[in-house]
Symmetry: C2
Subunit: 394 residues, 2 copies
C-alpha cells in the first residue's frame, strides 16, 4: 500500500531528490535549454540584420529569464509593458528600458521617481499632444527629463499616428521644444502579423512595419530632428523579416517560451516549446467521459488564441509529464476556475492518466498563462534546477 | 497649462485628498456598500432556508471581504478552491474551511502541515477510491486525521459520483473504515445553472442539486453512516432555490461582487455590481475609430462568459469613472496584453473620454478579473477608504 500510493506522488525525473522541492500543482515548468536556444535564435536574427534586439519582458517578467534573453548583459536594452516591470528591472540593474505602452499624464511622477531612484534611462511612448504637453509640464515641475518615441501605426489599428500624418511631426515638435522633453525616434508594432500563419504574408507585413517606421523616421529627419531609434517588432515579424534596413532595433517577447499560438502559426517547432503547466489528475468522470485536472481557467488562462490555427487547441495540449509528448490527441476541452476537463477519446486514457498522476499542459498563450504565477520551476533535462520569480501586476 | 494638465490626473471623488493614495491604473475598485448589501442578501437567503451559508472565497481571496461575507464571524464556515487560500484564511483565524476541489494524493502533506500549524478544521473532497486510499495511508504516516465530503455529480458532469451509484457508498466506506479518515457528508455543485438565464429553469436546477445531495446523504445514512453535512451551491441556484429542505449548507462566491455574467442572467441588478476596473485613456486612434485604455487582457481577463446573455459585453462595459453609469453603449471590444480597445459609436466619445481621463470597466467575470490584482481599492460613496489585499496563486 505505501509503495503504490507513494508512486502516485512521484514526478519521475521532476522529483529526483536533487535538493529542489517537488512543486505543488498547478505550477509553471520552464525548460532552460529550450529557453536558451530560443533566446540565441532571436539574438542571431537581430545580429544577422545588423539591429539591436530589445527583448520584450512582458512575457517573462523575470530578471533571470531577461538575462538569458539579452545574452547575459544587464546593460542590454529591454522593453516592458507596465511601470511595475520598469521598476522591477531597473532595480535589478537594467539601465535602458523602453515602456512600450502609450504613456498617460497620471504616470509621470512614478516614472520620475523610478529614474531618480535607479538612474535607469526609461524611454516613453506617445502618439498625441496631450501627453506631449503633460510631459513638458511634469518635466518642469519635477525637474527631470522625459524622452519619447513617437508611436506609429503600421496597420495594426491600435496605438500610433499614421506614418504620413502631420500629427507625427507635431508630436515630435511639441516634445522637442520642451525644456525637459526630447524625442529619440519612432516605434511601431505590426500586431496584424497575428492574423496569418503564412510566413510569406508575415514577411510582407514585416516589410510594411519596417517601411512605416523608417518612413516616419525619415520624415522626422527631414523636419530637422535627430532620430536615433527606429524600433519595430512582433515575434512573427522579427522571425520572418527579410530585411530590416533602416531599422535600429527589433522587439519580441514570446519567443522566450513560445506557445501553441506561435506553434500553430509556424513561428516555432514543437521542440522549442519551453513553457508548460504541470497539473495533477484529481478525478475521472466516466459518465461524462472526462479526466479532471487541477489546472483550470486561472492556471491555464482563458486565452484561446491558438484555436485560430489549431482548432483542437482547447485550453492547451495535454502531454506526458516526463516526455512532453502529447497524450494522443487530447487537449483541455473546458475549464472552470480551478478545474480543467480533458474529454477522453478512449477508455484507455483513464489508465494512462490515473488519479494522482501528473500531466504537462502546453498553453495557448504563454504571456497570459505565466501571468497567473509568482514564478517558474526551471528544469534541465527534465530535472528541477532552479526557481525563478516573476513580477506581476501594475 | 499646469491647471489643465493637472485636471487630467484628477479622479474626481476618487482622489479627494482624504489620505489614501490615488491608485495608479489599471486597478480594482470595490464598492463597500454594494459588497455589504450583496453579503446581507445571501446571508438572508440562507437564513430564510434554515441553512448555513458557507461563502466561497475563491472570488475574493481576501480576509477583509471574507469578514463581510460571513457577517463578521471568523469562526463562520468558509469554502476555498486552493490550498494557498486555505493556508491564508486559516492563518487569519478562519477555523472551518472546506477545500471544494477534488483532493490529490500529492497534497496530503501540505494539508497536514496546515492543520497542525493553525488548528483549523479543513474538510476535503473526493469522488474516488484512489484518494480515499491515499488519505488512509497519509493519515497513518503523518499522524493526522483527514475528513471528507464525497463529491456528487448532480448533472454538471464535472467532478462527483452519481448519487445513485455504488461508488458513493464505496468511497464513504473506504474513508469510514480508515483509522485516521472520516466522511462527514456529501457535496454537489450545479454548474449547469450557468447554462440558462431563466430563473424558473435555475429553480428547477436547484431542485435537482438539492435532490442529488439529499438523496446521496440518505443513501449513506441507510448504509449506516452519520451524515452531518449536505452541501450545495452555485450563486444562481442559491439565489433562486425555492426549497433547501434536507440541505445543511449553501455555497456561493461571486455574489460578493457580481459581474456582467451574473447581471446578464438576472442574478443581480446593475446597482449591485460592486467591482470595476479603473483605467486611463492613453490614446485615440480616429482612423480606426477606437479609444485606447491601459486595461487590457491581463487587467480585465480574457473571460468572455457574459457574452452568452449580453452579446455586447465585449471584455466589459465602459462606465463613467465617477457615476458608474455606462458611456453610451460602449464596451471594450478587443484586448491585447496591456491595451484595451473601445470601438466608438460617435466622434463625441473622443471628447467624452479625452486622453488622460479615467473610465471604470465592469468585467465579465469577477473571479477571473480580480485574480490578476494584489488587492482592492475600496471606495465608499465614490471616495477611497481602504486597501484590502488578496492572496492569489496555489
Amino acid at each position: 500500500m505505501p509503495e503504490s500510493v507513494d508512486t502516485l506522488r512521484s514526478f519521475g525525473p521532476l522529483g529526483n531528490g536533487d535538493g529542489f522541492a517537488v512543486p505543488d500543482t498547478p505550477c509553471l515548468l520552464l525548460d532552460r535549454a529550450r529557453l536558451g536556444a530560443n533566446a540565441r535564435r532571436f539574438l542571431d536574427i537581430a545580429n544577422r540584420h545588423g539591429v539591436t534586439l530589445r527583448p520584450h519582458l512582458k512575457t517573462c517578467k523575470s530578471v533571470d529569464v531577461a538575462r538569458v534573453l539579452t545574452g547575459g548583459r544587464d546593460d542590454a536594452p529591454v522593453t516592458v509593458s507596465t511601470l511595475a516591470e520598469a521598476e522591477y528591472f531597473a532595480a535589478a540593474g537594467f539601465t535602458d528600458i523602453l515602456y512600450a505602452v502609450g504613456m498617460a499624464p497620471g504616470k509621470f511622477e512614478r516614472v520620475a521617481r523610478l529614474t531618480k531612484d535607479t538612474g535607469a534611462r526609461v524611454t516613453l511612448l506617445t502618439d498625441n499632444l496631450v501627453v506631449a504637453d503633460a510631459a513638458r509640464h511634469f518635466a518642469a515641475r519635477l525637474g527631470v527629463a522625459f524622452e519619447f518615441l513617437v508611436e506609429v501605426d503600421c496597420g495594426d489599428g491600435r496605438g500610433g499616428v499614421m506614418p504620413d500624418s502631420e500629427l507625427l511631426v507635431q508630436v515630435a515638435r511639441r516634445l522637442h521644444e520642451g525644456d525637459g522633453t526630447a524625442v529619440r525616434g519612432v516605434m511601431t508594432h505590426a500586431g496584424q502579423s497575428y492574423d496569418t500563419n503564412d510566413p510569406v504574408t508575415v514577411a510582407r507585413i514585416a516589410d510594411r512595419e519596417r517601411d512605416a517606421a523608417v518612413g516616419a523616421a525619415n520624415r522626422l529627419r527631414e523636419a530637422g530632428f535627430d532620430v536615433d531609434v527606429v524600433s519595430v517588432g512582433s515575434t512573427p515579424t522579427v522571425a520572418f523579416a527579410e530585411s530590416l534596413a533602416g531599422v535600429t532595433e527589433a522587439r519580441c517577447g514570446v519567443h522566450a517560451f513560445f506557445d501553441l499560438d506561435q506553434f500553430g502559426r509556424g513561428v516555432c517547432r514543437w521542440d522549442d516549446l519551453a513553457l508548460s503547466v504541470l497539473a495533477t489528475v484529481i478525478g475521472h468522470n466516466r459518465a461524462s467521459g472526462i479526466v479532471l485536472v487541477d489546472a483550470g481557467g486561472l492556471a491555464l488562462s482563458k486565452d484561446t488564441s491558438a484555436r485560430h490555427f489549431l482548432p483542437d487547441a482547447g485550453y492547451g495540449y495535454v502531454c506526458h509529464a516526463e516526455t512532453m509528448q502529447r497524450v494522443g490527441p487530447l487537449s483541455v476541452t473546458a475549464v472552470n476556475q480551478e478545474h480543467g476537463k480533458i474529454a477522453v477519446d478512449d477508455a484507455c486514457r483513464y489508465d494512462e492518466m490515473p488519479v494522482g498522476s501528473q500531466v504537462r499542459i502546453v498553453p495557448n498563450h504563454a504571456c497570459f498563462t505565466a501571468a497567473a504565477y509568482p514564478g517558474y520551476h526551471v528544469i534541465d533535462n527534465g530535472a528541477p534546477c532552479a526557481y525563478w520569480s516573476r513580477h506581476n501586476g501594475w
